[in-house]
Point group: C2
Amino acid sequence: MAKRSRSLSSEEPLPSKGEQTRALILETALEMFSERGYEETTMRAIAEKAGVALGNTYYYFRSKEHLIQAFYERLHELHREACAPILEKERTLKGRLHGVMRAILRNMEPYHQFAAILFRSAADPHSPLNPFSRESEHVRRESIGWFAEVLKGTRTHIPADLEAELPSLLWLYHMGIVLFWIHDSSPRQARTHRLMEHTVDMVVKLITLASLPPMRPLRKSTLQLLASLREDVA
Amino acid sequence: MAKRSRSLSSEEPLPSKGEQTRALILETALEMFSERGYEETTMRAIAEKAGVALGNTYYYFRSKEHLIQAFYERLHELHREACAPILEKERTLKGRLHGVMRAILRNMEPYHQFAAILFRSAADPHSPLNPFSRESEHVRRESIGWFAEVLKGTRTHIPADLEAELPSLLWLYHMGIVLFWIHDSSPRQARTHRLMEHTVDMVVKLITLASLPPMRPLRKSTLQLLASLREDVA
DNA sequence: GTCTATAACCGGATAGAC
DNA sequence: GTCTATCCGGTTATAGAC
């Protein structure tokens, strides 16, 4: 998260002035949000602490909500880093799914209080933060990609029709767990972890069951229902 | 929805002046919300159209959001009226559950656009509109009560342990459908209706299955998990 | 307790000059 | 890219009338 110094010849493009200012504003905002809370942190205060003019913060972030969008993307990067080693180590479906889910919950833990705001906006179909929105599409696609990885790395046999649909379904499952997590006021969100562990078990059993040849008709008709429900969530 | 005239001797308490003013403000606000949208309707405009002073709207509604809370309660009354006849007529579990769910979706239909705002706030664990909040407790309890009614009126045998838990679970199921509904942009929310019809079927089959004697151990352990997850959602 | 009128505060957002 | 000035609307405050 620390900004790399400008010293050198790394092959990555060096941050332009604008990128630096943008980063400065974002850092300042996130820091203040977690210290005082979202509502209590005014755009004016962010600008002042960051040493820029109010108008300038709006040059880089279209609205206060967009600062949260930026936070969301950063959280997503944390998830990416946390999931990669798990997907290299674990070889069972259960181990992989459980590992990924636990990593995600752990990453979010410091932001539990603050995340409520994120998901308030996320529930609004018109907000850019809505997980189904165009703005969130990139993040969503990549997340779904991780769940595809979860499936690919195991030796569990899964029929192709189901395997095509499962990544989106697992992503949806993970959103459900996150929704529970937001409302979970137990210490360190222990309840959510319990729910997650039990449901991961159930999900894995269900996948195994649904992959059995005799289940083919039921599986087909269920997948058909899903197809007919899909908007462009993919 | 029309305000009864003051003419008479009905046994209901006649609305006091204050109640009339309150109702006037609420009617005006809801009308404007559905015409122009929530964000576009200012408190000043509501007050002006209702012919009261701005301060007076705040006398009756602590905030703009509380106007939505009032709408939520009104919607709940619509649901109550729509569900009662269904629970008198239908005698099968499937018929009752399906009827109730369809009635709820139909009632909400005119407010699809507008309901997004409601649920944006509802997703915030700190908002009074959150379905798990103290302010929503009365409405939630009554809703859960309807689902208890759905179960009681059938001849389907359901073991006591499951029957105790089911109303809350069905309520949760119904919240899930509503969540889908909010994000459903298909004409007349046709997708949601399709989802509802299929899942009502599945839920009924699942209940029947879970009620079978051989399922007792699995049922018990699942109910135990649920108990351990419960905060005070009841 | 119900209501009016008016002014002010506060903070998110925008316009336009440099 | 950055700034200052301004707008706009939710909310609050005040002082007084019925």
